[in-house]
Amino acid sequence: MSEQAVVVPKVKKCPSVHKGIDTHQRLVRKIFKRPAFLISLGCILILVAIAICASFIAPYDPNETDLPNKNLGISSTHVWGTDYLGRDLFSRTIWGTRTSLIIAFTTVGCAFVAGVVIGCMAAFYGGIVDETLSRCIDLFLAFPGIIFSLALLGLIGPGIPNIVLALTLSQWAVFARLMRGDVLSITNLEYIQSAKTGGLSNSRIILRHLIPNAIMPVLILATLEVGSVILSTAGLSFLGLGIPPEIPEWGSMIGAGKEFLRTAPLNVIVPGLAITAVVMVFNVFGEGLRDILDVHEEQVLPS
């Protein structure tokens, strides 16, 4: 299970059909051939802009309650209606973007760094280091999905830092495993060996030769993981383990709104659509990126 096959790339000597990195023009051309990717890229930029400028875009204070006007339907004053406390659903959804993106980006960032460092160390140093780290990776991978985060969050309580911690703990191993495999597949390639015989230091080999060549699939995984982290966050918040209600968050909006499923379904429908849209944007972006960079790796597993 832990012994990764050493993948020596199939040597194909066509002057034009190249595997590996592309020239800039080729990349640009490839990108422009994929409208879905471009659109998703645009959407991500817009999402980030929304997250940053939430206070300007949202017409209402997301936490301003207006009890007499609760559970309103769609109207010109409240474009997506109001929630069970009379708060403007559109404004809350807009602010929810900020929460979700902050959590998703930090979690994926932390898991990525941890995974890359640990995976790289395991593969490069081999032997006992690899054995220990690999067992750790296996151990964390043995907890399916959000089970681990769930148990942890139930005890340490909700809150953004806590959820980032819990999700990072459950995600890093995925990155580490992929990174380890990638690095293993190139440590036996001849340019790494020749860097060794050239008398270069380990740190230089790792930083200059290993990481740049092994990181691409991990980066792609990271973009795909953004979507699944958003889903996990929403799921945990839905159960009431994620985000305090003070901070508008889609999952907890759905969780609180489910009481009103029949009388005011907008409480549930609006944030659900927001999650779907954002997750889809990141998935399409990640897939597109994978196509463009043409890195064939094992299927990335969303949780």
Partner: protein, 314 residues
């Protein structure tokens, strides 16, 4: 009697970088029972020619020219009719046997699935498979038929694809580098097998290879391919003794035992072919005309010819 006749075959691939002209004005013919060798540099378009004949080029390829097989024009043949020729009348020994065998199908099944018609009973088919396997020297054939491709060595896999290719006694075998990557023992065996098949069945053989020794051993004529074109066709007896095209000569001199003399420079990119002769840049006899006009293929004696402005005289 002419079995295969290829006239002005052109194959182009449109890729992100431009159009790759992989095969240019290729014309040759092959008689029944004859062995024609295709030699030339890596990437010069040899396999493309073979795949064009059996019509297996990817859909991105744009093909023009006439290929007629046994009087039928393969270009205009319907896909169904073409498909009925494959395996039974025209077969292919693929360039890479390891990739060409289904990794999860048993070796015997890979043969038996194309055994048709005459053999109805299961035991007959099994027998036929064993006969085929032993005819290429794969013994004990009973065990090998039950194994999977990964359990065979490279040379055995190569011979397995060869045995698949001869299953239906095809009239034309396209053998694409059947000895690539084999050590000399295995290479020798394959050569023997191919020669035997060709003699026994009166099949024609289109032999694509890098290995000039093998070509010399098996072929009646040899076509030299350079940058997508056939630059010279000659009977084997003549081509090593009196090469007419400068590339052919340079190629022969680069063989270690002939002196290991390199050809300077690089072959042109198929994306961006020169106006004149494709070999002009590397040719020591290059004249002005060679850079300006593209030489035509000039037919000579004995079914041969050359594409050069100043061929060495024969």
């Amino acid at each position: 009697m002419t079995l295969l006749d290829v006239q002005d075959l052109n194959v182009r691939f449109s890729t992100g970088e431009g159009i790759i002209h992989a095969s240019r004005d290729v014309s040759f013919s092959l008689d029944t029972g004859e062995v024609l060798g295709l030699v030339g540099e890596t990437g010069s378009g040899k396999s493309i020619i073979g795949q064009a004949v059996i019509r297996l080029l990817p859909s991105t390829a744009e093909i023009t020219g006439d290929i007629s097989f046994d009087g039928k024009n393969l270009n205009t043949l319907s896909e169904a009719a073409m498909h009925s020729l494959r395996g039974s009348s025209i077969s292919l020994i693929p360039q890479n046997p390891s990739g060409a065998l289904d990794p999860v199908a048993r070796n015997g099944d890979q043969i038996s699935e194309i055994v048709t018609g005459r053999f109805k009973k299961r035991s007959d088919i099994v027998n036929r498979v064993h006969v085929l396997l032993s005819s290429v020297g794969l013994v004990p054939s009973v065990r090998i038929a039950d194994e999977f491709p990964h359990q065979l060595s490279g040379g055995m896999r190569q011979r397995l694809t060869t045995s698949i290719a001869i299953t239906e006694n095809p009239r034309l075998i396209i053998a694409d580098e059947p000895t690539k990557g084999l050590d000399f023992r295995a290479r020798e065996m394959t050569a023997t097998v191919l020669a035997d098949i060709q003699k026994q069945n009166q099949s024609s053989l289109l032999l694509i290879t890098h290995d000039l020794d093998l070509a010399e051993q098996l072929c009646a004529r040899i076509a030299v391919v350079y940058a997508g074109e056939i630059v010279e066709i000659s009977p084997v007896s003549r081509i090593f003794a009196e090469p007419r095209h400068p590339y052919t000569r340079a190629l022969i001199q680069a063989i270690p035992k002939n002196g290991l003399i390199p050809i300077p420079g690089q072959s042109p990119s198929l994306l961006d072919l020169p106006e004149g002769c494709s070999f002009a840049d590397r040719c020591e006899y290059c004249a002005d005309i060679c850079r300006l006009t593209h030489p035509e293929f000039v037919y000579g004696t004995m079914n041969g010819g050359v594409r050069c402005h100043h061929p060495f005289s024969s």
